[in-house]
Symmetry: C2
């Protein structure tokens, strides 16, 4: 945990945005794997972590604006709990570490909320994403589960998003650490990958290194020779000469802050000429996007810069045709780049995605384009501010199923050279990704430099086997 | 997946136990970590795996007894799904692998169940343990979430338990493999542990090896210098000379079958004299329990044999006193051994725990003793049958909080030497555990031999650093 003053200050700031009512925070519970007591590793809700810092299942908290009171709801361990689960600190000690003085047992919460509802006091809650919390909210507020998302408090969402979006000094220290540890792991993978290995062996090494660092993975590692599959979690393929490995993985620190990096490297010691061509197009898009990052710049424009660089590069090698800017405007580049150039990052790898992309990545004026194939996956569009942390991760992905669909319709035939594309059908995909902090004057890459140019990567691969 | 004939046969056998009605099977969904799309690794429900073999989120199935029909409910991937998640096989292909011909889209299930309810047809379902499935059942059957467990079908539970309890040849092959891979990992940990390492480094190696084997952990690894905490998942301590490491971990195979082994070894090259004394008491209890395993023998009696061996050994070194059998009958040994000697194992490490311990481990005649501290944690009591797979895992755990509580009450003072026990206050704990198949003539240990005697363990530790 951070120093308790930090949590007290965060709660004070949030409270100052409300005149009345109650803010209800639900921590997460243990998630059962194949029966109730065989649970996945516990991950606390990020908003709960941000305001309270206590990573323990089955907690809740209320900030009572009118009474200027903060109440933590939770239970001390029973002797049975201690026998089975052990104890590092009592809940009372943890609450003191968080600057809290009022701790009540969990069974008091429902009655407390009932009383507040009887007095017609406004109870703000955030949109639930965990089914266990949907069940609780549904019961407490007498709402069908399907209605909960729309009953969540917009003012609460917006207040949390505005506060969590701008990272403080102590958060940047954590995010730098997450990115640096992630970079070390990427280097290790690049050094150890060999033809004949299975993807799962490398994925396992990544998991090991994340746990050994004292944290965990911030998301399930993508470690694949089929880099064209954006969120591929299959690890059953063998690495063969001529293929590429796409490694999209990152750690979260013990306090929960995420790193998120991607590198793509050849299984062989060198990239093939075609792989080099495509790699350099992606790297150009990365560089142009990165250089555009600064306060006041809309990330939508950063994304479009990256798309246009990709389209121009693809045109140069004959996979696209016509005017590159027109192609991007029409959305034709999404044959090769189906997703967004990046997203906000913090306590979540897609920061605050549970609170709604429209609030985290867009504004009332700049709404997300949900109709265009590529833009609907752009999680961040709005103007950047000093203190934002985000990723830049352009890529080129050749997806056979997508070629077949679009080619059958002759979709964007003026911009896509389908004949040539057929020759690239099994190319797979390339992505390059780093994490950036928006600074007063521009941006700073988080963590440390990780081999990125073809020369740097081939130098490492030359030593690998 | 196994050959489809196996799933067809299993369903046929289950069906034969019902005269009428429908059996509803709910597969699991992805479990969100910190937002909906950042999910834990997927684990299919074990009963769904047993009867259908398809490990994919958001499936359901119905066996219609009257119509002699089996329907799988699920959706083929959309092009967006394919772009993001990739695809190894279509749902249609997977359903064929499972011997299924009738596949309907997920949105048809609710209507289907409504129609069956209108016709007053009996719909059997199993007690849900995943909150997402509680939400669904609550909606479909108009029941409060709290009422679902009691509305689950007893005949369905009992039919599944009786079928899954007796392992078939192909299941035993998987369970042997799980135990053997688990044993390899234990040996690696025993070879690599060194003073100065952190617990998390070893826990990370275990996780790596489980993933690299093509499976996963069957439960979160317990890797701790505080072995007295039964289900300790904290990995933040440094290993120091004089301490012991308790490693309770096992893999599940790609098909989902579990291994579950425990070894306790010294951080130093040798056990201390006191550690040796206690270790040998535990090993005697293990040996006596193991030797008692045979068809027709009640596991409750195996457990009591193990408890009595522990009590006698503890009496021999002066920690207990009085008659050992009387001490066990009174429950005084539970100061040192708070849990059960073992549990059923199969597709779940605690097999079918979601279906209810009273059905898996006990009978209508032999109910679980829920009042005695030690016996209430004994998950298995009933007579063993050929084909059962279970663990034997006695231990001695010195829990300071428990000493303080019981000593203050002078609980079992006739059997516990509290003065001497104070000298052992920080001893921590020892457990030894292997997995066994009940055979026609007795039992067979699954997997392979793993160093177990003090001599074997010290020989490995001598080479470790």
């Amino acid at each position: 945990m951070f120093d308790k003053e930090i949590y007290i200050e965060r709660r004070k700031k949030l409270k100052s945005k409300f005149e009345s009512g109650l803010l209800l925070f639900l921590g997460n519970e243990d998630s059962p794997m194949n029966y109730a007591d065989n649970a996945y590793h516990f991950r606390q809700d990020s908003t709960f972590l941000y305001y309270f810092g206590i990573s323990e299942p089955a907690l809740a908290a209320v900030i009572d604006i009118d009474e200027a009171e903060v109440i933590l709801f939770g239970n001390e361990m029973s002797i049975d709990d201690i026998v089975w689960m052990g104890r590092q600190k009592t809940l009372k000690e943890k609450s003191e570490d968080s600057g809290l003085t009022n701790v009540q047992s969990s069974d008091k919460l429902e009655t407390f909320l009932n009383q507040c509802q009887q007095k017609n006091r406004a109870i703000h809650f955030l949109p639930p994403y965990r089914p266990e919390n949907k069940i609780k909210l549904s019961k407490w507020f007498g709402l069908p589960v399907d209605a909960l998302e729309h009953s969540a408090s917009l003012s609460f969402i917006k207040a949390v998003v505005s506060q969590r979006s701008v990272k403080s000094t102590e958060e940047i220290v954590e995010l730098d650490k997450a990115a640096a540890v992630s970079a070390d792991i990427h280097l290790m993978v690049m050094q150890q990958a060999k033809p004949g290995m299975y993807e799962r062996e490398l994925a396992a090494k990544i998991q090991e290194a994340a746990l050994a660092s004292g944290g965990n993975l911030s998301y399930p590692a993508i470690l694949t020779i089929r880099g064209e599959i954006l969120h591929n979690h299959y690890h059953g393929n063998m690495l063969r000469e001529g293929q590429m490995v796409l490694n999209d993985s990152g750690v979260e620190t013990a306090l929960g802050y995420a790193g998120d990096l991607t590198r793509t490297f050849p299984v062989s010691k060198k990239f093939s000429p075609v792989q080099k061509d495509i790699y350099d197009i992606v790297l150009n898009a990365y560089t142009n996007a990165k250089n555009a990052l600064a306060p006041g710049v809309r990330y939508l424009d950063v994304h479009l810069t990256s798309c246009k660089t990709l389209a121009q590069g693809l045109k140069d090698i004959g996979l696209m045709q016509g005017n590159a800017d027109d192609a991007v405007e029409a959305g034709a580049h999404a044959m090769f780049f189906q997703c967004g150039t990046g997203h906000m990052m913090g306590l979540d790898v897609h920061d605050m995605e549970d609170l709604g992309e429209q609030y985290v990545g867009y504004t009332d004026e700049l709404k997300k384009n949900t109709s265009q194939f590529g833009l609907k996956s752009l999680r961040l569009g709005k103007a950047l501010e000093t203190g934002y942390v985000l990723t830049v991760e352009p890529g080129i992905y050749i997806i056979p199923e997508l070629i077949d669909r679009w080619k059958a319709e002759q979709k964007f035939a003026e911009f896509i050279n389908y004949d040539k594309l057929e020759q690239f059908r099994n190319f797979t995909g390339i992505r390059v990704e780093d994490d950036f902090l928006i600074t007063k004057n521009g941006n700073r890459m988080l963590g440390k430099h990780l081999a990125q140019s073809i020369e740097e990567i081939e130098a490492i691969r030359a030593e690998a086997y």
